[in-house]
């Protein structure tokens, strides 16, 4: 059984007197320990899909199943704990006037109870940062360090699935390479599954097992990363592959 499944997911937004269809019926599945890439341009619906999965917004139609159990629009704490989202702007996802430690503790206490303890050593070791950085404020960290702390916060509640929304797009290439390796290592060591959204197919190629390519709210191609990237069937996928600047 898949860890996570989506069936016929649709999302409509009302904008003034127009209806915008951000998702037009998407099916997907995520297997145990798998990293699934979600590729496409801005406006293709990949971030919307991630928001529906994370429970940040309800779908207009369709259902999401965690271990075969349909998730209601009112998620339990356990549902929220099992799926953790990491955003593009790590700095923006931390409270600017709280230390990193306080933000991680807040997330841990709200999802695992007040008695849960933040293991500073273990968490900072997992993301490869010195423990003293936990007492800093987000503005005192670099973009790459902040993104590592966002991963630390997500992993602190021991989720089954990581949802990563363009988490390396705002970083320079060196920090990006560090974060990609970190996500790969963490998923392998903790048997965590992940959905990794990116517009950059080179990033998806080196990290993911399988990829889904989206356009205008619908799925255009799906398969193993080798197959989709090396032998794309759709013109749109080929265009995305051709746009990758390589060294």
């Amino acid at each position: 059984m898949s860890v996570l499944e989506g069936k016929g997911l649709k999302k409509r937004y009302q904008k003034q007197n127009r209806v915008i269809e951000a998702l037009r019926g998407v099916d997907f599945h995520l297997e145990d320990g798998e990293i699934l890439g979600l590729a496409g341009e801005s406006g293709s619906g990949k971030s919307t899909l991630l928001k529906l999965i994370a429970g940040l917004e309800p779908p207009s139609e369709g259902s999401i199943l965690l271990h075969g159990r349909e998730l209601s629009t009112r998620r339990t704490k356990e549902d929220y704990r099992s799926m953790q989202m990491i955003f593009q702007s790590a700095g923006g996802s931390f409270h600017p006037r709280r230390t990193i430690y306080d933000s991680i503790a807040e997330s841990l206490h709200s999802l695992r109870g007040r008695e849960a303890r933040v293991d500073v050593e273990a968490i900072s070791d997992m993301v490869g940062l010195p423990p003293e950085l936990m007492s800093r404020y987000p503005r005192q960290l670099s973009g790459g360090q902040c993104q590592r702390m966002a991963i630390a916060r997500a992993m602190a509640v021991q989720p089954e699935i990581l949802l990563c929304d363009e988490i390396t797009s705002a970083l320079d290439v060196s920090s990006q390479a560090q974060i990609l390796r970190l996500v790969a290592d963490i998923c392998r060591e903790n048997s965590t599954s992940a959905i990794f959204v990116s517009h950059d197919l080179a990033v998806i190629r080196c990290l993911c097992d399988r990829v889904m390519v989206m356009k205008d709210g619908a799925l255009v191609e799906e398969g193993s990363v080798e197959q989709v990237i090396l032998q794309p069937r759709e013109d749109y996928t080929r265009r995305l592959v051709d746009s990758v600047l390589q060294i």
Binding site: I35, E41, S42, S142, G143, G144, Q145, D172, V173, S174, S175, Q176, A177, Q178, I179, L180, R181, A184, H199, D200, L201, A202, V203, R205, C206, L207, C208, D209, V225, E226, I229, L230, R239, L240, V241, D242, S243, V244, L245, Q246, I247
Partner: protein, 325 residues
């Protein structure tokens, strides 16, 4: 007349007395693209701001020469006027370049007026010409739009058109594609390439991405902690990198071959250039004890190719590893 348009010699600039970039030297030939690459905080944008005579930047030593005139000696106001007349800039975030809720037409007129170049009768013709250079044929409609109504890539092309409209000879671009989707990145890169090839626009492009530099640059300058650690023809720097840092930047770029990119451990120093020792030694996979105290000055390593260290010829630990199976 020499084809050299801009020359930067042993330039040290900073915010107040604190140097953010030190001993930077390069020459820019007419019609060439020079890419300055490096991680966040390496001083590449500071150099760009110094060329534009940004008020917060002070020239501490060295000189900037524009077509034979040493402009760094001029009073600030005069230098700024001259720089703005001759050099245009395109920023990373196109949304922040323009006021989102004023039409492009009004903003174009306002900019031209502030440069003293507005001519109502010639305006439409000039705009059409500039828009056609960036392949925007639907220029009348675009000009009447407000920036919020257009995509990031479209906004960036309009920003390019505006820079061209001012008729400046040198275009400075600060991370012009970083905020864009991969497909749009490629479009903007093509525009910049076309501007050089068809219109002979000289460009300095600041980017953290060596893959973009490979696509665009005639020459590449690699910066680390405020110093230019390697400079040369793009093919020389990419195919035969001398400095270990250049090599590390190349190894950090993900490719379609599935190889897991190798990121440098740690973060670059945010304190700018140091007085003694190589700034890179504490992150350098090939560092020796002597690197902490020896001063590394740029040395000639080939025809038009200089580097402040030549240890990067060896391969780095972790290079060539495969990604996930």
């Amino acid at each position: 007349m020499s084809s050299e348009i801009l020359s930067v010699s042993h330039l040290t600039v900073g915010y107040g007395e604190h140097a953010a970039a030190a001993d930077v030297s390069f020459q820019l030939q007419r019609g060439e693209i020079l890419c300055l690459v490096g991680e966040s905080g390496c001083g590449k944008s500071t150099v760009l701001k110094a060329l534009l005579a940004a008020p917060e930047i002070r020239v501490l030593s060295g000189s900037i020469t524009l077509e034979g005139q040493t402009i760094s000696e001029l009073p600030d106001k005069e230098r700024r006027g001259l720089c703005c007349e001759r050099m245009g800039i395109v920023f990373q975030s196109p949304q922040e370049t323009f006021n989102p809720i004023r039409s492009y037409r009004r903003q174009f007129i306002e900019t031209l007026k502030s440069h003293g170049r507005y001519d109502a009768a010639a305006f439409d013709g000039q705009v059409e010409e500039a828009f056609l250079k960036v392949e925007l044929t639907d220029w009348k409609r675009v000009l009447s739009e407000c920036p919020f109504a257009l995509s990031g890539g479209m906004n960036q092309r309009v920003a390019l058109a505006l820079a061209l409209l001012l008729g400046q000879e040198i275009l400075l671009c600060d991370e012009p594609t970083s905020a864009l989707d991969a497909t749009i990145q490629l479009q903007v890169a093509h525009e910049l390439q076309r501007l050089r090839d068809k219109n002979g626009v000289t460009q300095i492009i600041v980017t953290h991405n060596l893959a973009l530099a490979r696509f665009l640059a005639d020459r590449i300058g690699v910066m680390y902690a405020g110093r230019l650690v390697e400079l040369g023809r793009a093919s020389d720097v990419l195919q035969d990198p001398k400095h270990p840092y250049t090599r590390s930047l190349i190894a950090a770029i993900p490719g379609l071959d599935g190889r897991m990119p190798v990121g440098l451990p740690g973060s670059p120093p945010m304190t700018g250039p140091s007085e003694t020792g190589c700034e890179f030694h504490d992150r350098c996979p090939l560092a020796k004890d002597s690197c902490a105290c020896r001063t590394y000055a740029p040395q000639q390593v080939g025809d038009g190719h200089s580097a402040s260290c030549c240890e990067g010829k060896q391969s780095l630990p972790g290079e060539g590893e495969e990604g996930r199976p």
